[in-house]
Each structure stands twice: as structure tokens, then as C-alpha cells.
Amino acid sequence: MHEVTLTVNGIPRTVSVPARRLLSDCLRHDLGLTGTHVGCEHGVCGACTVLIDGEPMRSCLLFAVSVDGAEVTTVEGCRAPDGRLGPVQRAFHECHGLQCGYCTPGFVTTITAYLREHPDPSEEQAREAIGGNLCRCTGYQNIVASVLRAAAIQRGDSP
């Protein structure tokens, strides 16, 4: 067993895990953060995407021990500082950007990271930004709209 210390959504957490423990399983089953979902277990669908030191990564392709010391942001950490829905989460709600909600956490984390670098994307860029995540329910149209809406919320544009 290996001791791993992670700062998860701003809170330092220490867990004891076998070397082969996937980060996705560590977050979900050892730390109880079940918002991170596992869709394909081979890095294709993006549902398990979390931010490692701010960068989106597939937590199903990482061992927990390999990110010892990292800052991890999960969908639970994408809320606004006051505990209400964060801008991306709010945008998904307002634009009907989700149906079953299973893939949504991976989109929320991916888009959160993307908008930090690209605060004012075009529709085409928004579509490109979510191009690595699979959704089986929505047909993506309302997710594209959610990206644009989240950007507007972050810029403080009126609704």
C-alpha cells in the first residue's frame, strides 16, 4: 500500500492505496467523490475527466500514486465559491445541456479548464473544445450552447 496525498477541490486528503488503484476509483470509492464517472475505462469517452493542477486529464488512465502531491479538481469542485452552481454547471442547466447526466461531469471539468484560456469562444471553437468527450443523449447541440453560455456568465454578460 502507498500513502498518497492529494489536494482535492482545495482540501488536502491522504489515502492509502495499492499501486494499481486508478485515480478514478480512488476519487470515487476511497474519497467518496462519486461525481466523477467512468464510462469506458480506456480514455475515450472523457466522462472521468478531472483537472490535475488545472489541466484536464482522464482519471481512468492515471494511477492515484502517479499524481501524489497534485491539486485535483472534480465536478464537485466546479461549484461557485458560495456553494451555488458554478458558471459551467449553471449554463448546462439553463441550456438543457444534459439528459441522463452521466457524461456531464467530464464535460463540466473540461469546459471549466477550456474557458480559463479561452474566455470568448466562437460556436465553432466551442464545438471543438468538447470534441474529446462522448455524450449519448444530447446530440451535443445544447452542450455547445452551454459552453457559450458559460463563457457569457463568466464574462458577466447579462443573460
Partner: protein, 794 residues
Amino acid sequence: MTTKMFGEPMLRREDPRLVSGDGRYLDDLGHDALAAAFVRSPYAHARIVDVDVTDALDVDGLVAIYTYEDLDGRVAERLPLLIPHPALHAPRTGYPLANGVVKHVGEAVAMVVATDRYVAEDVAERIRVSYEPLPVVVGIAAALSATHRVHDDIADNVAAHLVQEVGDARTAIASAPHRLRLDLDIERSASMPMEGKGVYARWDAADRSLRVYTSTQTSTSVRFALAAKLDLPVDRVEVVTPDVGGGFGVKIVHPWPEEVLVPWAAIRLDRPVKWAEDRREHFISSAHERAQHHTVEVGFDDEGRLRGLDVEFAHDNGAYTPYGIIVPVITSTQLLGPYKPGAYRVEFRSVYTNTVQVTPYRGAGRPQGVFAMERTMDAIAAYLKLDRALVRERNFIQPDEMPYDQGLIFQDGRPLIYDSGDYPAALEKVKKLIGWDGFAAYREQARAQGRRVGIGLACYVEGTGVGPYEGAFVRVETTGQVVVATGLTTQGQGHETVFAQVAAEELGVPVENVTVVTGDTRRFKYAVGTFASRAAVMSGNAVALAARKVRAKALRIAGEALEVDPRDLEITDGVVAVKGTPQAAIPLKTVAVLANPLRYAFDEETQRATQFAVGGSLDKPPVDDDDEPGLEATDYYSPLRSTFADGMHAAIVETDPETAEIRILRYAVVHDCGRLINPRIVEGQIHGGVAQGVGGALYERIVYDDDGQLVNASYMDFLMPYASEVPTIEIDHLETPSPLNPLGVKGAGEAGVIPGAAVLASAIEDAEGIRIDRMPISPSELWELRSSRRRDDP
């Protein structure tokens, strides 16, 4: 006036939970449970010679290993045949664990229970199974040739054979001025929800009760099936559906082997047990759909009007038929779409192969039927050199011919009678939306730039809201909160929102006050399930009926309290008041208090209902003979037959003259599902359906090799569309109410996917001038078609 809620594009009430990671899907539950894993067959057809567990026994954390020999009672029997049909003369279902023989790759041979999933898989890896391979049947042609058998006792590999005929189709075709024959293929695909299946069971030995959480489309039916399999009284079994990460049909099948084995093991071990399906397991051991080969013979007149239609097709049902022959039955009936076929004859054979079983995937046989019919329409138009839209229009059933009896038996065992629809209006709308009439000019413009474009059209009619019934429970709490429960499940359709809209509208309360529970047998015991675009129709109407009962009761009690005629009362924003005299009013929550005569108050408010506080007649008992305590009611909606939604899709594609890449430039949808409860949610359903239609037309195919190995069993190799593959979808609605149900609604869940293959084949054919008779089509296949045309016609 209470704000109108029915028909409003309300934001979803389930979203805040789901967008912030607070959803509770199956594998989010039961962290203390033991984990199950399965040893699955690597052979498509083989006899199991030996299962050797010697090496597995040393693994630290192993709890149990089970093979078929360990199963007892009815668990050792075959899984149920869910939907028997007179034409299904040779049904076969599997066992929870293979009984001596495996019939497809992925069939479960042994079950492992261990302290966690990693350990369970370590154990599974060390179990050595010896197999004696048997001859393998893959594909419709191999099945029909009957060189080898899938099941020893079925010599021709045919599970079912059905003929339906209206009029004398063959004579009508023979005597028609023109005749065509088409061979049309659709390949295998699959539902592929983002969340696989999963089961978590807790046995309470002291209470002798079982609670099962399962990612299903039908919790009530799982409950009955498990009670029967495990020989438990039904009242000792609770089945709860947590948040479900998509279903699209595959999760309506039940009980899955794992759905029986996990609770069985939990009882046997007296420990909670959980299994969450991994992606590879989902590919090789759940269910697929679509693969059919159709032969169409059609006779028509100079105007393109159908005289007769004769369709024969073969359906690949995989190794087992737990869901009966619903898929080919739907193809055979829904193929007719919005058209009058003249005489119609349809014949199908459903055949066994050594592949994963075939059960409904969104659309459920309709994409194939619509592909066959719409390809036929295009072929007639090409033959007569007529506009494709015009040929369709000439064959439409007209609005004044409704209700229209197609003379066939539908998938619910009831007559195929269309209840309403306005097909000419829908066609007008879609032509306008896509710019049908102006396309020729656009094509010329594109051609001048060296670009190749084409336009396509496809129409469908979809039987939705099949019975037998759904029910709902509605209660007004003494807090004024309204609780709604319905038995069918939810896997992304927004039922917490739409059923709240229906209840709020009927009761006259703010929608924020309504909470909806679905798919939990503790809350509602009788239900069928969420499939066949039926939830809004079935549970929507049941909620309306139950709410109407509650409303009537509330008005009666309020009338007594206010000493007015209930007919003079209305309910607005949760307050019952005399119409025109809002001062004479009583809040609904107080009515709820009064509805339950009390001996013991539990707070200040409920003191009003105690025996010395209530007034009323002393000649009547506190609860009258025909009354019940509580401001609540249960009611059921059971339709005479299905209600028929319809739609028309049009698409413009561009094909690359060099690479044969196929790009969708525009995609237009006109959709009629009767009255819309929530247009935002309906449009979301259409978007998702169209995306799956695009996948089915251009990308998704399940590929088996001749040995029965599923060669693309991963998301890397089975190509589902990403955002880059799905076009922007333009939608226009038509609302032709259904006369069959109180809300006038029709189903919308599957619609988007149905004409996908047909409309894109139509558009690609138009762009290329090459007959497209097989879908999906990849760029390399299109390139091959171009090459073979050049060879044939140099």
C-alpha cells in the same frame, strides 16, 4: 392565476443535482458491498469441458466462486421469455451461468465474489475454463444456410416466422403498371448508454427482505421476476432504480443474468454484493440491434402511387430471444409509415446466430422499416423521374382519413390504427425548413465550385405509448408540498420535471412544490417501464388522472369548510378560493390537514383536524364509506391502443469528390408528437435521437468476424459520434393532439433516430447518383461504390 406550466419550456428540476456531481448512479452506491466479476466465454460456440479454480483459491480477498452447478431452485432454470408471440415457435433464453454450452462470446460461465472488484478480477483471471469449440454461425446468410446449428434442436436456425397480409399484394404488384425490386441491408448497432448495467443487492436476514438497486428501465418487472426466481414473497422484495446513465432500450431487458445472480449471492452470503458492468462486458454480453436484410417488391402506377408492396426480411436475433420478436414485428408494421401501400404483404424470419442477443435499441426496428420504405419511395421517384417529395405526398394518408386502419396487428397485440396526424402539412413544413424547392439552384452553385451536394428526405410514423398501463400516486402534504410517484423509471428524459408540470397544472400549485419519484417499488408497485416512447403518454396521463382525483377531493373538502358549492371553487397557487371572491379561501395545505381526521395532532396546524375541532355532520362517520383519509389519490391510465406520432427529416450532405468523405451540411426535422408538455425536453430528445441516427447511418457498426469474435468491442473502435460529427439540427413542430388520451400527447423519445439512415442514404444517393442500399456507409465504402460504378460503366 397560477402560471401555465403545461407546454412551457421549463428548466429541468433534476439538473442541479446532476451537474454538480450529486447524482446517485448504481456504482455510486454500496461502497461497503462485496464486488462481483464474471468469467465470460472467449468462444462463440463451445462445450464447457472443465472449470478449474485451483489457482484462484489462494487469492487474498476471495469470498466465493459460482458456476452453473452451484445454482439452485429456479435460479438454475432458463431466464424468462419476456414476450411470447404465436409466431415465435422456437424461443430460447439463456441460463444465468452457462449450463454446459456457451452460445456467444461474452456469455457468463462463472461468477466471482470478492472484497473488491480488483480482487474479483484477479480471481476471474485465474479460473481456467477448458472448452471444446463447436461450429459457429455468424450472419444472416450463415444462419439461413443452416449448415451449422446455434441450438442443437433447431435445425433451420429459425426462431420465428411471421406473415401478415392485407389484400392480395402479389397479384396487385403483378398487375401494376410498373414494378421494382430492392435489396436493402442494415447492419448491427447497439444502444451503448454511457453507464453500463449494474446491480447492488442487500439482504436483511432478520427481516427476510431483499432490496435491489439496478440500472434498469423497469424496476417493477425486475421485482416480480426476482421474487419468482428467488422464491420470495413479492412484498419481501424492493427494487429501486437510482439515477440511470442512459438506457436507449438495452436496459428494458430483464432480469439479466447478473440481476438474478447478484441478489442470489447476497442472500446466500448474507452480505451486500454489487456488480457494475465494464465497457467490454457491455459490448460482448448485453444486447445489440438493427441487423436485417430486406427484399422489397413494389408495384405502382404512372403517378407513383403504390398498388402493392411485398416485403420479405430476415432478422438476426443473436443467440437468444428473451425479448421475443418485438423488433421484427415493429419493422413489419411500422415500415408502412404515413403511406397507403395498396395491398401489403410482409413476411419475416428471425434467425439464431452465435452472437449477442438482439433486443430493442431506440427506434426498435423502425429505422430498418423506414429505410426499406423510404428507399422504395426514392426508387419509384427515380424510375418515374418524379420529384421525391411528390411521390411521397401522393401516397400519404390524408388528415380526413384519420383514424386510419392499416389492417395489421401492432407490437402490442392490438390493431395498427393511426389515431391522428397531418402528413401533408408536415411535408410542407420540412420542405420549407430545408429549402427543398430551391435546392436545384444551390446544387448548381456548388457544382460550379467543384462541390458535390445532395438532398434527402425521409418520413415515418411511430406507434408510441404502448400499454398495458401506467399508474401514478399524487398526495398533497400538510406542508402544501405535493408528492408524485409513478412506477416507470427515468434515464434522462426529465420525468422529475414533466410529471411535476402535469401535476402542478392539474392541481393549481406552483411547480416548485411538486416532487416526483420514479422507478422505486417502495413508492409505486405497479408499472410497466420506460421504453417505446411511452413515459409521457402513459405516466403523464396517469399523473393527470390522479391529480384530477385529488383536485376533486380538495374542492369537496374545501367546499365543506367554506360552506360553498365545490363547483364555485378554483385552485390557484396552492390556495382554494371562491371564484371571483378571493377572500373566501383556504390553503390547499389546510385542506390536506382536514382530509385526514385525527385523534392525535402532531403540530399546531394539525390540531384543526382533531375530533373536538372539526365541525361537520354528526350523522356521518369521520371517514365516509366511499372515502379514504388523506388528500391523495392513485389512478391508472390504460389506453385502448397506441398513439401514432410522426415526423419528416430532410438533410443536405456534401461528399468529397476525392476522398468520399461525407459531411452533413444541414439537418431539418419536423416533428409531431401531439401536445408538447415541455418543448425544451422534446427538442433535446430529438437532438439526441438524430445524433444516434447519424451514428447509425455513417459510423456505428458492430463487427463480428467469422469465428464470432466481436472485433470492435471498445469505444475506440465502435465509432459513436462526437460533437464534430453531429450537425446543427433545425426543428419545427406540428401539434396534432391524440384523441386517445386526456392530455392529447404522443411519445417523443425515439423519434429522432428513426429516419436517420433513410434520410442520409437519400441525400448521399442524390449527391452521387449511385444507388445506396446498405447502411451504415463509410467513406471507404462510398469510394468502393464509385470505383465499381466506374468499372461497370467506364
